[in-house]
């Protein structure tokens, strides 16, 4: 697991900075490695209190499950919501909840950036030899967020078991594709929101509106929302690509805004673009911090 683990103990080794190729080593790989190290430490520490981990994860599961219970209660009185049946909505809900849960688990911690800027603890991350974003994202890695993912997967399972979908290979591929791309899109929104906190340290609520708020919007069909909102989450903050468009493709339903059918395959591209922009925003924010110190 560790690069130097196979080395004989006591064998002298040049310091990392003098090793050839260190400069060329991709910063991305360095970041992923550091992220893994920090996450492993937090997981070990979480597992030291197994009972507490089980309880908090269960709590996380129950709290998020109430969301879907609400929808089920609604369907006790109506047969369709915005023209969608309960299993159809379960597909939208399951996709978006799983994608968001994954993203929240992996990147949710970045929303503490503003606090770190305010109390000056960001400086302690800047003196370490690994990318700051990896350190911020991995900080206090909360395994209990698995509760939300479990809940999303269960709802997704229910949807797939009850829906009568005309399965094609493309539709099968679409399922994992949309969950993973969706998680990536939410992740980019988390990072962009954190980058914004370099400038406005109290902006974590703004970010929450897009992440937690966004996932709530996506749990309902686009037909019940105003056109402006649908336009907004398609073209401005492209959350529609997380679940709406690909899930509607799987369901074989009409798209909002008369979009062509191929947009359902765009989520990976959209995720890539989002990360590009989020990365730029992060760099800009960090550079501004390092020149202003606040």
């Amino acid at each position: 697991m560790e690069a130097g683990a196979g080395r004989r103990a006591g064998e002298p080794e040049p310091a990392a900075w003098s090793r050839p190729g260190f400069d060329d080593r991709s910063r991305l790989l360095e970041g992923v490695r550091a992220y893994g190290l920090i996450v492993a430490m937090w997981m070990r520490s979480t597992m030291a209190y197994r009972a507490s981990f089980v309880m908090t994860t269960l709590g996380n599961f129950v709290v998020t499950a109430f969301d879907f219970v609400t929808i089920m209660l609604m369907f006790a009185h109506v047969d369709a919501l915005g023209g969608y049946t309960l299993p159809e909505i379960a597909l939208l809900y399951g996709t978006s909840a799983t994608a968001f849960g994954l993203s929240d688990l992996l990147f949710g911690s970045v929303d503490r950036l503003g606090r770190r800027v305010r109390d000056g603890t960001l400086d302690t991350l800047l003196v370490r030899p690994v990318p700051v974003l990896a350190q911020v994202a991995a900080d206090r890695f909360a395994l209990r967020r698995l509760g939300r993912i479990t809940q999303g997967l269960l709802v997704l399972g229910y949807a797939l078991a009850t829906l009568d979908i005309a399965w094609t290979p493309l539709r099968v591929v679409m399922l994992p594709l949309m969950v993973l791309s969706g998680a990536a899109i939410f992740g980019a929104v988390f990072v962009a929101g954190a980058a914004f906190q370099f400038f406005a340290q109290d902006a974590s609520e703004v970010q929450n509106a897009f992440t937690y708020g966004g996932t709530t919007v996506l749990q309902y069909p686009p037909t019940i929302f105003a056109k402006e909102l649908v336009r907004g989450v398609t073209f401005v903050v492209p959350l529609a690509f997380v679940s709406w468009l690909p899930a509607l493709y799987v369901l074989g339903r009409d798209y909002p805004l008369e979009l062509p059918e191929w947009v359902a395959f765009l989520p990976p591209v959209v995720a890539g673009l989002c990360w590009l922009l989020a990365g730029l925003a992060w760099r800009t924010g960090l550079r501004a911090y390092r020149s202003t110190g606040s």
Partner: protein, 324 residues
């Protein structure tokens, strides 16, 4: 390169401070936190960096570590430009912020160290040796399994110093390392730093409010104020430059009018309180002839000499030179 291990040439840091003056109106003001500082620190030297609050001490340290990008001037640490190659430099420097910890707050000390081990890619044996040494000298043995947040300030500071040294940094920056510590912890930290510098010739730059730190650790001291370097030299000479005075406290047999001595002894009475009198004389002058004359002319019961307080010295330095 060894004689210019840390190199600063006309380094500046200008902040744009925006202040809200009305509901929407904002006033912009330029603050020159560091205003053209130049100095060199050779490898293995231990330097005190002192000055009043807001003088630019922490800003300088942040530029030396690469946290902040200078607005102007040239800066090199071990030949590296900190702002451009921050992560590369990080392998070669250790940083201790007295006010905040670099350890993981919720985790046991040992976990923080374990993570440093991997993060800095410290060879296993080197890591074990360094950790054992720090644990022994900084008395951390009983603390390794305690979460950082449960440590006292002095314990945490020792833990932080150990964390900063596990990867064998060539230079150690300490920003107020003894702030808030009790006497015993202070002594322990100072002793440790002295040994580190002597045995490993680690370059040390420390800012402090506690002038005893400087007196016990550093031969060279730099004084910064309003972002400018106002003194750079030996601690002893700072007293001369600052025209500092020592104080002779004498207890006489009975209440007497202020003592008067021959005019060749530049001494003046600063305070009289019953039979006790306070006499000030230049720090560069020996106290012996003064005491001899006093004992000859007055009924002396007891006496003691007080060393000058460097803060007062600095204050006097400003007062005597309006250009500063």
């Amino acid at each position: 390169m060894d004689s210019d291990f840390i190199e600063l040439d006309g380094v500046e840091k200008v902040f744009d401070v925006r202040r809200r003056t009305g509901f929407l109106r904002r006033e912009r003001r330029e603050v020159r936190a560091v205003d053209g500082i130049s100095f060199r620190v050779p490898r293995g030297e231990m330097v005190g960096y002192i000055g009043p609050n807001g003088a630019g001490k922490s800003t300088t340290i942040k530029m030396l570590t690469g946290i902040l990008t200078p607005s102007g001037g040239r800066l090199r640490v071990a030949g590296i430009d900190p702002a451009r190659e921050r992560t590369r430099l990080a392998h070669r420097i250790g940083v201790v912020f007295g006010q905040r910890t670099t350890l993981w707050w919720d985790l046991p000390l040992r976990d923080s160290y374990r993570l440093m081990h991997r993060m800095y890619r410290i060879p296993d044996r080197r890591f074990r040796e360094n950790l054992d040494r720090c644990v022994e000298l900084l008395d951390l043995g009983a603390l390794l399994e305690v979460p950082v947040r449960q440590l006292s300030l002095g314990q945490r500071m020792r833990g932080d110093i150990a964390a900063a040294l596990l990867h064998d940094p060539e230079v150690l920056y300490l920003d107020e390392p003894t702030i808030g510590l009790d006497v015993v912890s202070k002594a322990k930290v100072r002793g440790f730093l002295r040994d580190l510098n002597a045995e490993r010739s680690t370059t040390v730059l420390l800012t402090t409010h506690d002038l005893t730190d400087i007196e016990q650790l550093c031969r060279r001291v730099m004084v910064i104020d309003h972002g400018r370097l106002v003194y750079d030299g030996a601690l002893a000479k700072l007293h001369e430059v600052g025209e500092s005075e020592r104080t002779l406290v004498v207890d006489l047999e009975r209440e007497l009018p202020p003592v008067t001595l021959a005019s060749d002894l530049s001494v003046r009475v600063v305070k009289v309180e019953g039979p006790r009198q306070w006499l000030a004389f230049p720090a560069s002058v020996s106290a012996a002839p003064l005491v001899a004359r006093l004992a000859a002319d007055y009924p002396l019961v007891d006496l003691s000499v007080r060393e000058p307080d460097i803060e007062a010295v600095i204050a006097k330095m400003y007062a005597s030179d309006p250009a500063l």
